[in-house]
Symmetry: C2
Amino acid sequence: MKPLGPIPTGFTAIEGELAIAGRKASDLVAQAGGTPLFVYARELLSQRVADLRAAMPERLAIHYAVKANPYQPLLQHMAGLVDGFDIASGGELAMVQAAGIDPARVSFAGPGKRDAELQAAITAGVTLNLESEGEAARALDIASRLGVTPRLAIRVNPDFDLKGSGMKMGGGAKPFGIDAARVPALARQLIAAGAQWRGFHIFAGSQALSADAIIETQGHTLALAARLAEQSGAALPKCNLGGGFGIPYFPGDEPVNIAAIGAALADRFAQLPAVLEQTAFCVELGRYLVGESGVYLTRIVDRKESHGEIYLITDGGLHHQLAASGNFGTVVRRNYPSAIATRYDAVAEEEASIVGCLCTPLDRLADKGGFPRADVGDLVAIFCAGAYGASASPAMFLGQGPAHEILI
Amino acid sequence: MKPLGPIPTGFTAIEGELAIAGRKASDLVAQAGGTPLFVYARELLSQRVADLRAAMPERLAIHYAVKANPYQPLLQHMAGLVDGFDIASGGELAMVQAAGIDPARVSFAGPGKRDAELQAAITAGVTLNLESEGEAARALDIASRLGVTPRLAIRVNPDFDLKGSGMKMGGGAKPFGIDAARVPALARQLIAAGAQWRGFHIFAGSQALSADAIIETQGHTLALAARLAEQSGAALPKCNLGGGFGIPYFPGDEPVNIAAIGAALADRFAQLPAVLEQTAFCVELGRYLVGESGVYLTRIVDRKESHGEIYLITDGGLHHQLAASGNFGTVVRRNYPSAIATRYDAVAEEEASIVGCLCTPLDRLADKGGFPRADVGDLVAIFCAGAYGASASPAMFLGQGPAHEILI
């Protein structure tokens, strides 16, 4: 039997069934109109942001990275919780605008911004995190043509990475940002060109569970920001410290210790160098804010045995949960937290694999896990489905189409 | 410098630029309305099917597996070329119906067929490749309720796999099909229940380049079909021999020797046992028929250097070409065949990585390949984009949306 990842806190059982924000899984499926279904819980989102705020120094603003989950009702809920939003495309700009979010709270990072996206962002008053000198030149040209003062920041490719992170975004050659050594010259040039100077975006990695690693990286980030600001010859108005806070997906994973990170950051904020004294700091988090608030519910349509192994075949699959199937950015497949939602408080009594309905061996949601005996009609829950689920999966694969989504 | 995969035959240069079916890449982009763009060439599709027919015994029918590429105009073109279609969902059933394809030419395999999908397929007269005894019971119930004689075949989980295949679909415990040992009893039951008996579907693996391995597997498949037909006590009307024919994607890959496969199959067809003498045989191919006919074109929006490495940043990426980025069913990332389309006949003069516009290190289309010097505005071509491209990628990731597609 292979272990399953740890189920996040905040879920209970009602009449033997998984309950999300006090509502039974089967009731939520009925309300949404069927399976497969992503359920996102407002109370878990709100609690997560509240806990984070309590742990972090007041001076630290909290931004939401829209790419983690752009579901419109969720975005609207987040608008009341966080201080800013980070977008990665013109498509995401349209989404935050549709959610009524003030573009002055929005910044835009991404290595391949098209002219049309730069124009839309500059027109709206979004801060651009510039990824290259070439992009800076295009942005200044477009702003000048529009007769608008652009809000410009520089995304720095730091000389260090975030140790133990699932995705390294710094340390050596990278397509993201501008190598640190070239940043001061560009900053001076942007300021001289009359842009509204918005400072630095320094993102070293994501999905780390070690507070020590995050604390160390934040230390490097503050030191780099101070050095680059000095060399730029201007006080730093803003500094995005990046993200990096991970969530536990796999057996043995432990939640990141945010109290330790907050305490270390408070210490550092208390002894900032002069060039950073007036700087507004933020972190940019996606997965950490929304990942554990979501559950993917899918129904068992067949139960079969093959050479002594049991397969629970569902109406969902990797077309909605690519990462849970182990096919997105992972080398070794491990099981996400999962359960039989309609037998949530029953004990495990057999080894079974939960697979999707796609005709490919890649489509496996849980491999040889221990579950209560489940049958056709039962609901399966895959947890940690609030981030990089629906929008990060090939919904149209094998003619399937998107899942239902609800925010409760 | 890392090697690039082999560019398929059939492409030329016109005025220094990649030409697809005699049309310059830049003209195709203009016609389609922009990049990113998937181009599929009718003449390459037709040639591929003609070459395959010439190599295979006349008795072998050729089926197209819609999952490889369900683009509607391509499906319509394939309708005039192949003998049958294999679908994997109710969504794909709707697609073949929209293309005006006779449902009598269609069979439906897939481990998680919902009742509504079974009903639609039975009503339309599609052959169901049954994946379990439970699914068989549901299909018989639904047909009886509808007052329709269902066309039923059994998908067999073979006791062998296809050696060297990219995807193993047989050999040991699998979610697909019914273990061979249980097949005869179910076949007798279906025939006794009055279903129109359509025989066996035996799919052992896909994406193999070794003719020897395919020949060996086809031998096992015919032997298994004969044995199961004998044990079922009925002549076998039809036998789907599966697929398995791969295409070269990576450095060192060689095209599969279809002449050898055809000759071996002709030998075997000449000495079939009595129980298979009247059997209609087919192969079910997706990637092999359409993969090399397609090219993904994307435009360079930035050229940058980081720590001495050159990045060509495009307006496309893994949201359209997940497999080419190395993030779908592969353990070790290798480069697909790729080129600077607008400098197609120029010599390689620098090492560069071609990346997508997504803000993630996973989004890499070509890693440290040798290319002519390219700049903003140049078009990049990723080959072997005709199968498992557009529909097998997370188009909505980071708010990007789908690529353009054209059939020329």
